[in-house]
């Protein structure tokens, strides 16, 4: 039984890579005429998955610590607006500070409520999801705020450096930091210990409530960055950004091989998980399917990918 369990975990650590490669090859063959393999389209996939990937990297820490953050989509919306408003009045630097700061602040509140008041994070962040979205609607009365600042649009939008889209650079940057923190530092280790067995971590002197505070702050800040990237790409802040993202983000994390019950995870898996979902979405649109068909096929592929991986490993 134990050894079986071990195999399953093992499988879950790897299946996402196999599944991703299979799906990619499948699309490359069937959708060649639809331009799937063009550089332009591959960059589309990267651009379209950037925000989810970035939030998912931070969410990997939250979930590894045994918690969950449902407020990320709302934070992204709110940050997109606060950043856009700050840009208008104070320029680039202020915009960046306010955008990230909004996320950080909400993350801090989430973290305090979870770690000091011991309220289950599902409730805290669900409530914060409502609060954040409510605030985002409120501050401009649901009106979008256009962004005209060229440097901002370059940095967080569709700018490129040596032909490489800045969004790609952002993903690589955040994923690298995330990977390093997760795998190479004490913080990562303690995050996993907190999620793996909170009592054991405490007995070993890990400040588990500080760890929880930090993971929520990280998640909030990355959601803030995600909102700024939304705003950069769409040249406006808007209260609807990121609606439903919480589920996509968590799906990417779980698909990547992180356990929803904490204690075990992988940042690279998360990144691949996110890009895989984005690739499927892209391929299905290219195929010319209706939204209904896209949803149906996406669901089937997700299940098949995971179920198949299981068989293959057996």
């Amino acid at each position: 039984m134990l050894s079986k369990k071990f195999k399953i975990l093992d499988w879950r650590q790897n299946i996402v890579y196999i599944a991703f490669i299979l799906i990619f090859i499948l699309f490359a063959i069937t959708l060649n005429d639809q331009g799937f393999l063009t550089i332009e389209n591959l960059l589309n996939i990267v651009r379209q998955t950037t925000v989810i990937t970035i939030m998912a990297v931070a969410m990997t820490f939250v979930i590894s610590s045994g918690e969950i953050d449902l407020s990320v989509g709302s934070i992204a919306a709110l940050s997109s607006l606060t950043a856009a408003l700050a840009l208008q009045s104070g320029g680039l630097i202020l915009g960046i500070i306010v955008g990230l700061g909004t996320g950080l602040l909400i993350g801090l509140i989430n973290g305090l409520l979870v770690s000091k008041f011991l309220i289950p994070s599902f409730l805290v962040t669900l409530a914060m999801m409502e609060i954040g979205r409510g605030l985002a609607m409120w501050i401009t009365d649901t009106a979008p705020v256009p962004i005209l600042n060229e440097s901002y649009l370059f940095l967080f939008g569709n700018g490129t450096i040596f032909g490489i889209p800045n969004l790609l650079i952002w993903v690589i940057f955040i994923a690298t930091i995330g990977y390093t923190l997760y795998n190479k530092t004490i913080f990562g280790r303690q995050t996993l210990a907190t999620g793996g067995n909170v009592n054991a971590a405490k007995y070993s002197g890990v400040k588990t409530s500080r760890i929880k505070l930090l993971v929520f702050m990280g998640s909030g800040m990355m959601a803030g960055l995600a909102g700024m990237l939304y705003a950069g790409r769409l040249q406006a802040g808007r209260f609807t950004f990121g609606e439903g993202d919480e589920l996509s983000v968590i799906a990417a994390v779980i698909l990547g091989g992180t356990s929803l019950f904490g204690g075990i995870g992988t940042v690279i898996g998360t990144v691949i998980g996110s890009i895989m979902i984005g690739t499927i979405n892209n391929g299905l649109i290219l195929m010319g399917l209706d939204v209904s068909q896209q949803m149906f096929v996406l669901g089937i592929i997700l299940i098949l990918a995971v179920a198949f991986g299981r068989k293959a490993k057996k």
Binding site: A193, G196, N197, A201, G205, I264
Partner: protein, 499 residues
């Protein structure tokens, strides 16, 4: 007399209405191995957890090396040089052995990153030094309780400490590992480290300890030098009187001409077992002895339908049976008290009652509805019979003391009234008084014509109860000894260890 190195004065602690520690005084000299003894629920673990910063006392004071210390959190204890091997384990299951040993004290590279290589290297050395055959990369959740315990010990030992508390470190270890641990204890003692040692195995106390303190019902009742006391007086202190039952072996009559209750022929599993054969007769108590990792637990699991049997046959009362699941095994009258009470035996978040009736829900149901009155009656009966110390039967089992948790597991399986009862380390953590009663209880069940298989790392226990003993090595039965032919513990040890 020198000033004590550790002094706990007038410690009081209550959980709700239960006054668990009532003005306990506890003194330990530097460099001694001090045994802390007492019945299940006496308050040993609670007292030590206060020292380790896991619980806070209601009143009292602690002095270490002549200075008053305030220990509110585990990290205060670390600072004061106190480290503890926890009875209920403080390991992260998904971490490797090395990651657990070095949790929160990971070696770092110059850049501040975790130095995995050094961590592995250090762990390997540490394990070797302690003579533990275990790869540091293994994930702890894949280990049996014995290795789990060894990891826990390595972790505590690797701390730079002045006081090391060991809460039942040997409860899941067999002989050779126990001996390794004793060597280790002697080494530490030479280095001047003070050790507080909790155990229910009295023979160990007399082997390694210098002094002994006994708690009873939350009060300190005796502190004596080992040299000045003897077994009988220690038992006296612990149980507050004489033992009702003795541990002596009594010859029992087993009719080996009857057809066996269960007959195992050449079974093989994917886990470890290879060509295992033996029979169990009505009224027989069959012991299984072997080293840690020899495959004793695997035999039990196979008979209980937990592991798939790939070859071989099993006959129950002459009928061939395919035991592919615990439900089937239970239907055929087989019950298993598993070795790991926390992972296999109990649902820790559930009450004593919920746990105790989990395996017999069907019998307690009328028209699909569970009969609460009857359930309560049954559970109360076992609470009394096994002397389970709990405020009430709805207390969450995670709040019971370790030994009392073990008794709940026993109660749960005794309640199923099985024909073939398999016990894997059944008295793990159970105090001396209850242990003797349990042995008596097992004898009574066997006397009814039922069959018992008992796995135990405690030689004394095996010898006192078994009619026959199987010797297991590397997943197969290498010898079968009749108890009446075994002269001494030494002889049995010899049989287990010979290659």
């Amino acid at each position: 007399m020198t000033v004590p190195f550790l002094k706990m004065n007038d410690i009081n602690k209550s959980f709700g209405d239960a006054h668990v520690l009532q003005g306990v005084d506890f003194e330990v000299q530097q460099g001694e191995v001090h045994a802390l003894m007492g019945g299940n629920g006496a308050g040993k673990t609670t007292l030590m957890k206060i020292l380790a910063g896991v619980y806070n006392y209601d009143s009292g004071s602690i002095e270490i090396d002549g200075e008053k210390v305030h220990i509110n959190e585990p990290k205060d204890a670390n600072k004061a040089g106190v480290s503890m091997i926890f009875q209920e384990f403080s390991l992260v299951p998904k971490f490797s052995v090395a990651q657990n040993i070095f949790l929160n004290k990971e070696p770092r590279t110059k850049l501040g990153f975790i130095n995995e290589n050094r961590m592995m290297q250090d762990s390997k050395e540490l394990l070797e030094e302690m003579n533990i055959k275990l790869s540091p990369e293994t994930r702890v959740e894949d280990l049996s309780v014995g290795y789990w315990q060894m990891t826990e010990i390595s972790k505590a030992v690797s701390n730079k400490v002045h006081i090391l508390v060991m809460d039942e470190p040997t409860s899941t270890l067999s002989l050779s590992e126990t001996e390794t641990l004793f060597k280790l204890i002697n080494n530490l003692k030479e280095k001047g480290i003070t050790i507080i040692y909790i155990s229910h195995r009295l023979d160990e106390i007399f082997k390694v300890c210098d002094k002994i303190t006994v708690l009873r019902n939350g009060k300190q009742v005796a502190t004596e030098s080992i040299a000045d006391t003897d077994l009988e007086s220690v038992i006296n202190h612990i149980v507050g009187g004489k033992l009702k039952q003795e541990f002596e072996w009594k010859e029992r009559l087993v009719d080996y001409s009857k057809s066996p209750l269960i007959e195992i022929q050449n079974i093989q599993t994917l886990t470890k077992l290879d060509n295992v054969s033996f029979s169990l007769y009505p009224g027989e108590i069959l012991g299984i002895a072997g080293l840690m990792g020899s495959g004793r637990t695997e035999i039990a699991r196979a008979l209980f339908g937990m592991d798939r049997i790939v070859e071989g046959r099993i006959f129950i009362q002459g009928q061939e049976e395919l035991l592919t699941s615990p439900q089937l095994a239970m239907k055929k009258g087989v019950a298993l008290v598993p070795e790991d009470r926390r992972n296999q035996g109990l649902i820790l978040d559930h009450s004593v009652k919920s746990n105790a009736i989990l395996s017999i829900l069907k019998e307690l149901t009328r028209n699909g509805i569970i009969k609460e009155q009857e359930s309560n009656k049954l559970v109360n009966k076992y609470v009394e019979k096994l002397n389970i110390e709990t405020d009430h039967i709805n207390k969450t089992t995670s709040l019971l003391s370790g030994g009392n948790q073990q008794k709940v597991v026993l109660a749960k399986w005794l309640a199923t009234n099985p024909n073939i009862l398999i016990l894997d380390e059944p008295t793990n953590g159970v105090d001396i008084g209850a242990k003797s009663e349990i042995i008596q209880l097992i004898r009574e069940i066997a006397d009814e014509g039922k069959g018992i298989i008992i796995i135990s790392s405690e030689m004394t226990q095996l010898l006192s109860i078994s009619d026959r003993i199987l010797i297991v090595q590397e997943g197969t039965v290498v010898d079968t000894l009749y108890r009446s032919n075994i002269e001494s513990e030494r002889e049995l040890e010899h049989a287990i260890q010979k290659v």
